[in-house]
């Protein structure tokens, strides 16, 4: 859009009034004015910078005078400055997001209001295995005499994400004045299992489930309050359902939730801050999308953070944050759409509870010379009104978490390490809850949804209606679900040590690999829940690879195929059947197609 400027200058020159008005803002070409400075060199303007000029051009007094700018025959009617390009024969195509397109915010729809329409089709097909119990009351097959059943399930899930953005203000040079964004997501999902009572609590309802839902992932108004410096440092406020992440990798909270967020920058964007309040919307059980038909949850987040660019070195961003999670769902008895109890979790003494927990965090992302580094650390501190394990009222929450991802690039190969520790609870009967859990994690770490552990739901069979590790979650938090359950700080904790690569085989094809070792920190909570002694800490090895193919070199058409296996170690064998029918591993395959307009 840089060329807009010169075109604008030309058009303004065509009328004397405009020329008058423009005098202060635009220097006229040499030869028409004072002429002693010469022509200004075209360069990026920064507030406070001095323009540079080419040497003055000597005007030959014998030359033919230039055309008179006021001559009517030279006047070309132009509808408005945004459509000049059509005058020179370049017309937009509504389906082409890569060139001028009104639907993509390149031209206003009226005044200086722009619209941007985004449509994303995100479809997955996901065959996988994880431990599944047979139905307690009935089984699919005769001869099912043991607790563990067939492990295989398949998921088909498609989201049509449609985002409509209305933006007021010049979008090219400065933050817009207003933005309204509406993003409904149309979901269809279907799951096939091979046992009863996995997909719904009523075993008679079979081993398949299809569902559809319209969720609201964005619904906000963004108001640009003010600019506070010549460099467009600003304060803005955003109200409504909006995306937010508490850190670079979604370790603590990354979600689209209802809230109010005051944010801005200072000192030429060196500092960025957020002051945010969120109150969780209920999630639709099977799509995971925001459900506006349910009552809003009594689960709130108060967030303050400050990003500091180039701290401590150029190229590294440091962030400090305080997040307070206030949960008041003690009066709740909430069943999800499949009939399973979400709150309180079907666990321990199953009494309802509130909790207040404050997270003090430090996060960093960037590079030290050639070495890239992302780090994150949180200390969780708070009170649980009722410890469902020990029965203690006003139990203390004391938990912590650190993670680091160092990496280094060798031309087209990146090699990265993943290190993570989330504390575990060592005594289920005391008045301290020492297992780390997050309000809504979405970890982009150690392979993320490529990895088996992070991607798949692993139910804690025989240990309560909870899951050992949630979908797109890393912490073994023993909660009913990441999406609808309460945090649980009575959990075994986790260590993850991993080595991975990202290999850009060609510009269109990237191969990522991950090799992660997983261990519990302390299995006391698992031993308690299963009334089973000596559960080993070793979970196993999580090996995964993902192939990402962008056939047209663009992000608008992306195919991804990933596969992961979990090779269980003794702890997993203590908990689950892993050695049956020569099937001694679990797998996860994810085929994903993302089309974006």
């Amino acid at each position: 859009m840089q060329w807009f400027r010169s075109l604008t200058v030309v058009s303004l020159l065509l009328t004397p009034l405009a020329a008058e008005a423009g005098k202060e803002r635009f220097s006229l070409p040499a030869g028409y004015g004072t002429g002693n400075k010469g022509v200004e060199v075209a360069q990026q303007r920064r507030p406070g910078s001095q323009p540079r000029y080419q040497a003055p051009v000597e005007i030959d007094p014998d030359a033919v005078p230039p055309p008179n700018p006021n001559l009517p025959q030279d006047f070309i009617p132009i509808p408005d400055r945004w459509r000049l390009i059509e005058a020179v024969g370049v017309n937009e195509k509504w389906w082409d997001p890569y060139n001028q397109n009104t639907l993509k915010g390149d031209r206003p729809i009226f005044d200086d209001w722009f619209v941007n329409i985004v449509v994303i089709s995100d479809t997955i097909y996901e065959p996988r295995t994880f431990p599944i119990p047979v139905g307690i009351q009935t089984t699919k097959r005769a001869g099912s005499l043991d607790t563990f059943g067939d492990t295989s399930t398949e998921v088909f899930n498609t989201n049509l994400i449609t985002s409509l953005q209305f933006i007021k203000g010049n979008t090219a040079y400065k933050p817009p004045d207003y933005e309204i964004r509406i993003t409904p997501v149309f979901n269809y999902n279907k799951v096939w299992a091979d046992e009863l009572r996995v997909l719904r609590i009523q075993p008679e309802r079979g081993d398949e489930r299809s569902d559809r839902f319209i969720g609201w992932q964005e619904l906000f108004l963004d108001y640009h309050i003010r600019n506070v410096s010549d460099r467009y440092d600003f304060d803005s406020i955003r109200v409504g359902i909006q995306p937010f992440s508490t850190d670079f990798r979604g370790f603590l909270f990354q979600d689209n939730q209802a809230g109010i967020r005051l944010f801005g920058t200072r000192d030429n964007n060196i500092f960025q801050y957020n002051l945010a309040y969120f109150r969780k919307l209920e999630k639709d059980t099977n799509s995971g999308l925001n459900d506006l038909t349910e009552d809003i949850r009594d689960d709130e987040l108060f967030i303050a953070n400050l990003y500091w660019q180039d701290m401590p070195v150029l190229g590294f961003v440091s962030q400090a944050t305080v997040v307070h999670n206030r949960n008041r769902e003690k009066d709740n008895f909430y069943f999800n759409n499949n009939g399973f109890l979400e709150r309180p979790a079907s666990l321990g003494d199953e009494r309802q509870r509130d909790y207040d927990v404050t997270y003090f965090g430090f996060n960093g992302d960037g590079h030290f010379g050639r070495f890239n580094l992302t780090v994150s650390g949180y200390y969780a501190f708070g009170k649980d009104s009722h410890n469902v394990f020990s029965g203690v009222e006003d139990s203390d929450i004391r938990a912590w978490f650190v993670a680091a991802e160092p990496s280094v690039d060798f031309s087209w190969i990146r090699i990265r390490g993943s290190l993570m520790y989330a504390s575990g609870d060592d005594d289920p009967f005391d008045d301290r809850e020492e297992g780390f859990d997050a309000p809504f994690e979405n970890p982009q770490f150690a392979g993320a949804d490529t990895s088996y552990w992070i991607r798949q739901t692993i139910p804690l069979i025989g240990g309560g209606g909870v899951i050992l590790s949630g979908r797109n979650a890393m912490f073994p938090a023993l909660r009913s679900s990441k999406e609808q359950g309460q945090s649980n700080f009575n959990n075994p904790g986790l260590t993850l040590i991993g080595l991975g690569t990202d290999i850009d085989i060609t510009p269109e094809i990237r191969l990522s690999t991950n090799f992660n070792r997983l261990d519990f920190v302390d299995t006391a909570s698992l031993e308690f829940l299963r009334n089973q002694g000596e559960i080993d800490e070793g979970i196993g090895w999580d090996l995964s690879a993902a192939l990402i193919w962008r056939p047209l070199f663009i992000q608008n058409i992306v195919f991804r195929l990933s596969g992961a296996v979990l090779l269980p170690d003794q702890g997993f064998k203590d908990l689950y059947r892993v050695n049956d029918d020569s099937e001694d591993f679990f797998y996860s395959v994810l085929a994903n197609m993302v089309l974006t307009y």
Binding site: Q137, T138, G143, L145, F340, S346, G391, F528, N531, G533
Partner: protein, 659 residues
Amino acid sequence: MIAFARRLVQGLRALPAALALLMLAPAVADAQENLTVAEVQTVIAQAAAEATARGMPATIAVTDRVGNVLGVFRMTGAPDAMRVVSGRTVGLGFDFARFGLDNLIVPLGGIPAIPTLRLVPTELGAIAKAVTGAYLSSGGNAFTTRTANQIVQENFNVGELGQPSGPLFGVQFSQLPCSDLSSRFIGGNVNDFIGPKRSPLGLAADPGGLPLYKNGVPVGGIGVLADGEYGIDPVITDVDESDDEMIALAGTRGFEPPVDIMANRITVEGKTLRFTDKGMSALRTDPGNAPAFAAINGTVGNLIMVRGYNAAAAIVRGRAFGTPESGVRPETTGIYAPTQPFVLVDGNNNNRYPPRAGTDGILTAAEATEFVRQALKIAFAGRAQIRRPLNSFIQVTVSLVDTNGAILALARTPDGPMFGTDVSLQKARTAAFFSNPVAAAALRAADANITDLGAPFPNYARIGPYVDAVQAFVGPTALSDGIAFADRSGGNLSRPFYPDGSQDNQPGPFSKPIGIWSPFNVGLQLDLVLPQVVTHILFTLGISPTDTPVGCTPLNPTLATGLSQIPNGIQIFPGSVPVYKNGVLAGGLGVSGDGIDQDDMISFLGAHKGGLAANTGIGNAPANIRADTLTPQGTRLRYVNCPFKPFVDSDEQSPCKGK
């Protein structure tokens, strides 16, 4: 090297548990503790002081571990009658056929002349609660009537809709006063103090029954009834301050279980069990400062005699569990070697149920021995679900019966909770009977033997309609076609929803519909024994001159035994399988005392391995005649469900597959 180090570390970590096991086994077997008269007085006095402080005069009963009633104390002003009430049934009318025990009222003044109505005597409720506290507990677990409340309701936990019923659904109708296994106090009889004893109302789910311990060894139970209601607690997410429970809790001061084995440290399906809602800190008295028994006896209240339970208004000492006079002692002949179980003995120290051949001529004594031996071996190797410390072996009772319901062998691990004795027998008989092609006809024929009390009293429910219902539900040949019903299978048909927990669905054919269902009104299980229970209540009141006869159900007796096939009632929660010899039904193997999956596994694998060891064609039902081949109403029945991590020292997770 790393592997070695790892094993070393694992070995060292296992050491404390192994040592604990080593110490536990002889400790339980050898430590013989009992309640003395003075201790029973202390327990009663402590409870009475708390009752006084609460202004809730109570009836207080104390029993020993095998159910002998050691003393019953009624405080002045305590209600002498109680309502049996679930709080569920609409209306107050009593109706045996519709409501079972719920809202039970019995006639006072004799039958049929004087139709004065009264409620059930409170001392029966107090005894039932004390027995429950004693019977559900062991050296590895301390459970209460509040625990029982949690595990007998239609969902586990109650209120968690969609979940299956409590794991011990139906256990309340065990230890019945008409049981042929449970001994009775007659007076002047050599068997007067051998256990296990019966309970007047079965097991109680009304908070206020707690176990008593001495030096970590279970020695009995205390039961309190002060509020005039023998009920259940339908809401367990709150924290009640039940007067009955607080009074009983005060009584246990000095006789508390070790903290580590209390119910709230034990999980089933990841859910902790309830011990009491409030603890000692909520007491209004310091039980240690309670007035001595001598100071309250005759003033605050009086000891009472309860017909059928004690000889006089007096206190007797408890019998030390494990000694012959308790009726339970180590087996000494080595017949079940290599296992060393306990057996039941009579007042002359004779094993009441040594292995013997079937009365139907099918199983030999050697085969009976092998079934029980193998089942015990599974128990000793298994991982207990309801015991601490973790990785304790399983403690249960194993009963084997033939097709007539005759007991062919009965043995128990040393510390199995007492309730499992009668229950394992109920389970064995239930599996054998419901797998028997004569079942349908035998149940129908029972109606001719049911004698109603006469107007104006309501009639008892009839049994025939249950057969009609199950044949309409499962198929016209149900209970007459020889399909093998494990207790889990029959239990599937005995829940107020089918499948269990699906609350929008119809009831199972052996259950009352949910509109009138309650733990006091479950359906066939209760209706088979209710007339005998009512007769017994009348006996305790002195209205009926004779006690209920031995043998609970109205079924015709078999020629071989003189009793019906199910003379201590049926059981409807899992833990038994029918056993076969060369494809012919030979009886049932029942197990009770630990988690239901553990009980299932021990019976199923006991039958399987007993067959392998005997090598005479005995074993489990052929897979093609098991109940899990049936899909009534489109929903398959279960046969057994063997537990996760079944054995302490093995990675095995599918112990029963393919067997």
